[in-house]
């Protein structure tokens, strides 16, 4: 794969280390003299010194037709412009953009960037999932938090324990995607029996997540 890495110092270094070799062809562009020197030294690859938001610079770096373009600059609008150039002018197949302001994730996507990553948002996500872990619930979100996967461990005191799925009248807003019962993974249907210590993986929207958790954790009457 032909990968272009624009901007960034430590992040770029880490990404380069991970992609180097493995039949990848890396093009590194950096507009900071010090960072460029550092990257050249640590990666032992040629580093192109120039501004990735300027078309002539990207042209000189020969990024045309690359597979992936990763913009790691500090400023959101610089990353936006370099990604857009890569996509529209140099027909790069996929552009990944880092942004520091989490509000810009949606904006960048609307403006045509393929993939946008916000470290602040990821941090919030992992704090959230850590904090719900304490109450034995692990969640994971997909498609920018439009879908959540919730992991719930069944206790013997729960109402739904020792019941078939068709008997419990599971909320229509969610779906039990799978049940993990050591060491097997069960794809459930109506006749599947829910047992204590089962791990239910439930698919729902974030709005319905709370209702589903309280439904599953309802105790026996």
């Amino acid at each position: 794969m032909k990968i272009v890495i624009a901007g960034g110092a430590n992040t770029a270094d880490y990404i380069i280390k991970n992609f180097k070799g493995r039949s990848n062809e890396l093009t590194i562009i950096n507009f900071d003299r010090e960072a460029a020197n550092y990257l050249a030294k640590s990666s032992k690859l040629p580093v192109f010194y120039g501004d990735p938001t300027k078309p002539y610079c990207l042209k000189d770096a020969r990024i045309e037709g690359s597979d992936i373009f990763i913009a790691l600059g500090n400023r959101d609008c610089d990353n936006y412009v370099s990604c857009l150039l890569a996509k529209k002018v140099f027909s790069v197949k996929k552009c990944i953009c880092i942004c520091s302001n989490p509000k810009n994730v949606e904006v960048f996507k609307q403006l045509g960037i393929d993939s946008v990553i916000s470290s602040t948002e990821q941090l919030v996500q992992s704090i959230l999932s850590e904090s719900s872990l304490e109450s034995l619930i692990k969640t994971m979100s997909l498609e920018d938090e439009k879908i959540v996967l919730t992991e719930i461990i069944i206790k013997s005191t729960y109402y739904i324990a020792h019941k078939h799925i068709m008997e419990i009248n599971f909320p229509k807003t969610g779906s039990i995607a799978c049940i993990y019962r050591r060491p097997r993974v069960i794809i459930p249907n109506g006749s599947t029996l829910i047992l204590p210590k089962d791990k239910l993986i439930v698919l729902s929207t974030p709005n319905d997540q709370k209702d589903i958790i309280s439904f599953v954790q309802r105790d026996k009457k």
Partner: protein
């Protein structure tokens, strides 16, 4: 909800440098409804004493700033900050997200034109203008 309130009658000026301030002063004399936005409150000192519009301090690359500056009711937006990439970003937001009827953007690098293709954004290049003027003064050859 209140559709009637979204009357597009404001002139939004982004960046209060020499160009932004000059345009703001001129528009103010013409009696337009003006809002000037800049990251630095000090730059509003460039506005004349008779300037009668509104000023707003904030980061224009943040959507909430633009919304607080009433971009939704802007009939025209003039983007004049000193940074080309910020200008391009704001111009694209104004076109794609808020669909402001008239968008003017100041850019120093003529190469940036490719990113404005097909977006109905009017661009101003001070460099080209000076060069044209120079040619004109030298004898009308272009």
């Amino acid at each position: 909800m209140k559709k009637a309130s979204i009357l597009k009658n404001k002139t939004l000026i982004i960046g209060c440098g020499s160009l932004g301030a000059t345009i703001a002063n001129k528009c103010s004399q013409e009696g337009k409804n003006i809002m000037v936005v800049d990251t630095d409150a000090k730059s509003f000192e460039r506005l004349s004493d008779r300037f009668s519009g509104y000023t707003f301090v904030g980061d224009v690359t943040d959507l909430s700033t633009l919304e607080e500056a009433y971009i939704t009711s802007a009939k025209e937006i003039i983007i004049t900050t000193g940074d080309d990439n910020t200008n391009l970003f704001v111009a694209h937001i104004a076109r794609v997200i808020y669909n402001v009827p008239q968008i003017y953007v100041r850019l120093s690098d003529p190469d940036s034109e490719i990113l404005l293709k097909g977006m109905d954004i009017k661009s101003i290049y001070p460099l080209e203008l000076s060069f044209d003027k120079f040619n004109l003064m030298r004898g009308g050859r272009k």
